[in-house]
């Protein structure tokens, strides 16, 4: 058997073992799940996954293209090079004004909401070890919907954004509290969440049925999810939330890697399981609450984006940043499609994400069934 330190096992399958290193000396055979790197002087080390980095870059590029295309479209068409110039603050004043005041809020809402949904979905799916457990499946999005629809139909409240956020947070707390029995498990969170999702949906339907025609129309318009008519007031809270919550999510990554092995194994590996799960829940719910408040419930994004990112990157878990980028790319592309697919009319973006996301859900269900494990 080859010694781990010798240069003998360099031809191992899968390109695991690496000879070259920065200082040109032969390296120890590597069993890392990627390319290890080490900065010994400052005791920093880690494992890079080239494919994951590549996927992130590709998704970011896709999102950027869709972003520019989204900004370019409208009553006045702006050529893409002008869009890019305007994004960097140069170009003629008229274009700059249109881009800044009318086009950017919509595109930024799409970008941030998509990123928030994708990342949140990745956190939830990791936390529960269940690909079906995204915030739009376990009641959090539905809770936001119920609160907003109640506000519209009953004519009260501080506006869609605050209500959406409150609805999401209250539902999340309910899920967590009801799933709590000397700690929570991912499985209980999913079961309780699915139940609450249906209750919220029923309540929303009841409110719509009770409401007047105009209110019902407005409620349904919001429930579908729409990026039309976004203003900077939609972008700002979401931007602040993203700036706070995304960095908060990253240190949890190390613990989610063990949490994926199951609660007992994770605990045995020194993971504070309940603390990690609670922190993941807070961050995930926060992202979804702010995203939903700004863009409406764009169904299936939080469910599908992490799964797409995971398949592209070939990782055994939904990679958080890539999931966020996949969400952003999906929402921005869907918004472009929604504006061109029926000439002369503009569909709400939620219709497109829903139409594309439903097959993904079916595919996941079929796969989960075949593997015989849903969590």
């Amino acid at each position: 058997m080859a010694t781990p330190d010798g240069p003998t096992r360099l031809a191992a399958p899968g390109g695991r073992s690496r000879l070259a290193s920065s200082d040109g000396r032969a390296r120890v055979a590597s069993f890392a799940a990627g390319v290890p790197f080490r900065l010994p002087r400052i005791a920093v080390s880690g494992v890079l996954r080239p494919r994951l980095l590549l996927v992130c870059a590709a998704l970011a590029a896709t999102a950027f293209l869709a972003f520019c295309q989204g900004v370019a479209m409208g009553d006045v068409h702006i050529p893409i090079p002008d869009v890019v110039r305007a994004l960097f603050g140069t170009g003629d004043g008229g274009t700059l004004l249109i881009v800044r005041e009318f086009r950017l809020p919509r595109a930024l809402t799409g970008l941030l909401a998509g990123f928030a949904f994708g990342l949140s979905g990745a956190l939830f799916q990791t936390m529960t070890r269940n690909p079906l457990a995204s915030p739009d499946m376990i009641g959090i999005t539905q809770g936001a919907g119920t609160a907003v629809v109640a506000g519209i139909v009953l004519g009260f409240g501080p506006g869609d954004q605050v209500l959406g956020m409150a609805g999401a947070l209250v539902t999340a707390l309910l899920v967590y509290a009801l799933a709590w029995r000397r700690g929570t498990t991912g499985y209980r969170i999913v079961l309780v969440g699915v139940g609450l999702a249906w209750m919220c949906t029923s309540l929303t339907d009841f409110l719509i049925a009770r409401g007047g025609r105009f209110e019902a129309q407005a409620a349904i318009g919001w429930l579908v999810g729409n990026l039309n008519g976004r203003a900077w007031s939609h972008v700002e809270p979401l931007a602040i939330a993203t700036a706070v919550l995304v960095p908060a999510a990253l240190p949890l990554g190390r613990w989610t890697r063990t949490l994926q092995l199951g609660d007992d194994v994770a605990r045995g590996l020194g993971t504070p399981v309940q603390y990690t799960r609670f922190a993941l829940m807070i961050v995930g719910v926060g992202l979804v609450a702010f995203g939903t408040a700004s863009a409406g419930p764009l169904v299936f994004v939080a469910l599908a984006a992490p799964q797409i990112a995971q398949r592209l990157a070939g990782t055994p878990w939904p990679p958080p940043i890539a999931s966020g980028l996949a969400g952003a790319a999906a929402v921005l592309s869907a918004d472009v499609v929604a504006r061109v697919i029926v000439p002369g009319t503009e569909l709400p973006v939620g219709v497109v994400t829903g139409a594309c996301g439903a097959p993904v859900l079916l595919w996941l269900l079929v796969r989960a069934n075949r593997a015989g494990s849903g969590g």
């Binding site: 781990p4 890392a32 799940a33 005791a43 994926q260 055994p316």
Partner: protein, 276 residues
């Protein structure tokens, strides 16, 4: 390692789930540097005891002590560097490779800025080789056979580099050859690396062969403990498992060999088995 081998001890331990008390007033000391096997009928509390000794379950009364320190007061990460636990039938995420799984065993030794030190790499290589998994390092765990899968999990626990290793029924769902394979591996870990091992086993004959120290449990209490050849008798088996049997000598290992009698077969030897 034997000299500074860890000492794991339970004192007046009371354990239970919800309204049910499973273990009440249990005292136990795990001999350091040796293989201890806990046996007993289903629901006798042996897995519960193992979980409590690994702090997966909080005691309702009494305490578990690691080197004299109450387990509850040991910081989580430090505990994970001193004591490893492999729960029964763990499930790996779909598509995870053996190397990735085993690498996660290093997590109690890592920080968010130091995620793959030279020592991590060495520990993983060593664990993969010790378990014979180095050739399969790139394969997804869910494509392996049951025995290989269990070896991968044990490799993860080995990479954790804890002087104490707790295994809950590591041979469950394995065919006979793979059971022996896994148990030999565990014996190697004890003999070559001096790790203290505590495991729960179902098969009495395997327990007799591989245990330096055997703990027989019934109804949440320790009925007998000691070297298998000293404690395994027909009376003990009947008491603990409610099974009439003949105890002979294992022609291979010289350890006790438990031969169940059942209702359809009479013992070939003349004398009726003694009743406890």
């Amino acid at each position: 390692m034997t000299n500074d081998a860890p000492l794991l001890r339970a004192e007046g331990l009371r354990l239970g789930y919800d309204g049910r008390t499973v273990v009440d007033g249990l005292d136990l000391e795990i001999p350091p540097g040796r293989v201890t096997v806990i046996v007993g009928a289903n629901a006798c509390g042996k897995s519960t005891l193992l979980r409590a000794m690994a702090r997966l379950l909080a005691p309702r009364g009494g305490s578990v002590l690691l080197d004299g320190q109450v387990l509850r007061s040991v910081p989580t990460r430090e505990l994970a560097r001193r004591l490893g636990i492999l729960p029964q039938a763990p499930v790996a995420p779909e598509g995870i490779t053996v190397a990735d799984l085993v690498g996660r065993g290093r997590s109690p030794h890592q920080t968010w800025w130091r995620q793959w030190s030279a020592r991590d790499e060495r520990a993983v290589s060593t664990a993969l080789e010790a378990t014979g998994m180095d050739e399969l390092a790139d394969r997804p765990v869910d494509e392996l056979s049951g025995g290989q899968r269990q070896r991968a999990w044990i490799a993860m626990a080995v990479a954790q580099e804890t002087p104490l290793l707790l295994l809950d029924e590591p041979t469950t769902y394995l065919d006979l050859a793979h059971q022996i394979d896994v148990l030999d591996l565990v014996a190697d870990l004890n003999r070559r690396e001096g790790r203290t091992v505590v495991m729960v086993l179902h098969d009495l004959n395997h327990a007799c062969r591989y245990a330096d120290h055997m703990v027989a449990m019934k109804g949440g209490r320790v009925v007998a403990e000691g070297e298998p050849s000293a404690i395994v008798t027909e009376e003990l088996v009947e008491d603990v498992f409610g099974l009439r049997c003949h105890v002979g000598s294992d022609p291979v290992s010289g350890t006790p060999l438990v031969i169940p009698i059942g209702r359809h077969h009479a013992p070939a030897t003349a004398d009726e088995p003694r009743r406890g």
